[in-house]
């Protein structure tokens, strides 16, 4: 057995310093190596989430953020053969155990194509069921102009999960927010056949935006 190193002040400082330096160097090296796979994994996850919630598209989804009513929402615009297919919008609402974050796909004709849960911390076996098709599939091809995005208890058309009204409410609210964001987006991009005026709040904003565009046109 080698004699233990003396616990002198110099030894202790040197040793801790060396351990920290070596550990940091090792970490930086591993970080550099795994950085790309981590980003690739995150990217793949986003792309697969987008592919789930919007109809078939080609090319890369264009990512951007939009500010609606003082809050920023990330979204992805997808198109096929140059024609816009729709938007995949990320929204969240407070559930039972924290935020429920969704990716909501809305097609160019203002119909919800599909939704998927990006993250949630709801109770397993209760609220966590919002990720299961029994609940989530009801939002497929949901037309917000015809059916209200509120749970039945609150006078809407959403079938709540048994014993998890709060989660169901959060889910419906997140989808509703996505529709609001969509309206703001549709107002920004003058797409034919889409009226962004159904939602009053977003409607006024898009009107203002359009007015602004016209003014600059005049100025030129």
């Amino acid at each position: 057995m080698i004699m233990a190193v003396q616990s002198s002040f110099k030894n202790m400082t040197l040793c801790l310093f060396a351990v920290c330096i070596v550990s940091s160097a090792l970490l930086a090296a591993v970080y550099a190596v795994t950085k790309e796979p981590i980003e690739a994994a995150e990217h793949a996850k986003t792309v697969s989430a987008i592919a789930q919630v919007v109809p078939e598209f080609d090319g890369e989804p264009v990512s951007d953020t939009i500010e609606v009513a003082g809050k920023k929402y990330p979204y992805y615009a997808v198109s096929k053969g140059g024609q816009p297919v729709g938007y995949a919008i990320t929204t969240s609402a407070s559930g039972y155990g924290g935020a429920v974050t969704l990716m909501v796909g809305i097609t160019a004709d203002r119909v919800i194509y599909n939704t998927t849960v990006l993250s949630q911390a709801e109770t397993p076996g209760l609220g966590a069921k919002c990720t299961e098709p029994e609940f989530a599939d009801q939002f497929k091809n949901w037309n917000p102009a015809e059916k209200a995005l509120k749970v039945k208890k609150d006078g809407g058309d959403v079938d709540a999960i048994t014993a998890s009204t709060i989660t169901s409410r959060a889910y419906a609210l997140a989808v509703e927010t996505a529709v609001m964001v969509y309206d703001a987006l549709a107002g920004q991009v003058p797409a034919d056949g889409v009226t962004g005026a159904t939602n009053t709040e977003a409607g006024t904003e898009s009107d203002a935006a359009e007015a602004g565009v016209m003014e600059t046109d005049k100025g030129e």
């Binding site: 080698i2 233990a4 190193v5 003396q6 616990s7 002198s8 030894n11 202790m12 040793c15 801790l16 351990v19 920290c20 550990s23 940091s24 090792l26 970490l27 591993v30 970080y31 795994t34 796979p37 981590i38 690739a40 994994a41 995150e42 996850k45 993250s119 109770t123 397993p124 076996g125 209760l126």
Partner: protein, 196 residues
């Protein structure tokens, strides 16, 4: 002690969960299903083996008074490496286990083995000890996860064979304490018979 005994002693005689009662936080928190329990166990195994080896190799050069901070830094470095690897290759499991991956740093099993075994034994022996204890922990967590998943949601390893819900409370916090209590009792009974 042979290398084989070093590995097997962690499974039953010195099982970290059922006998030594160490590392209770991840044991209770991450065993909502068998898969989650197993993932947590394997993550701990990874850190345990590497930190045991590193500490065994460096122990003679570390002054006695600062050994604990030095060990903690070494363990934290391996935990962070594990975080990178999991984020890159198993992002879903990483997300499910959440905070309990970085919290491996303060898992008493890891620091405990460093103090009790790795700093006085050879690198190879320490690796075997890490594998043994780590496997014991993994098996315990998988069993606990399996029991909770079976009772709580009527499935095993994600494969559902009962329609509808199970006894929900077993997936929730109280069920974790209860299931662990009865498993420890069962383990005590079984090992006591063996000794006779």
């Amino acid at each position: 002690m042979g290398k084989f005994q070093l590995i097997t002693k962690g499974l039953v005689k010195e099982n970290p969960t059922f006998v030594l009662l160490l590392g209770m936080c991840p044991t209770l928190a991450t065993t909502t299903s068998a898969i989650n329990g197993m993932s947590m166990g394997l993550a701990t195994l990874f850190v345990l083996v590497l930190s045991n080896m590193a500490i065994s190799a460096t122990a003679p050069y570390i002054p006695d008074k600062v050994r604990i901070p030095a060990y903690i830094v070494i363990i934290a470095a391996f935990v962070t490496i594990l975080q990178f690897i999991m984020q890159a290759f198993t992002p879903d499991i990483y997300k499910t286990l959440g905070l309990f991956i970085p919290l491996i740093v303060v898992n008493c099993i890891v620091l405990g083995r460093a103090e009790a075994f790795a700093n006085k034994n050879s690198v190879v022996d320490s690796a075997c000890d890490g594998i043994g204890i780590g496997l014991g922990f993994t098996i315990a967590l998988t069993i606990l996860g399996l029991v909770r998943e079976l009772l709580g949601s009527g499935s095993a390893f994600g494969y559902k064979f009962i329609d509808g819900d199970g006894i929900l409370v077993f997936v929730l916090a109280p069920g974790a304490f209860m299931a662990l209590a009865y498993l420890i009792v069962l383990f005590k009974k079984l090992t006591a018979k063996k000794d006779e």
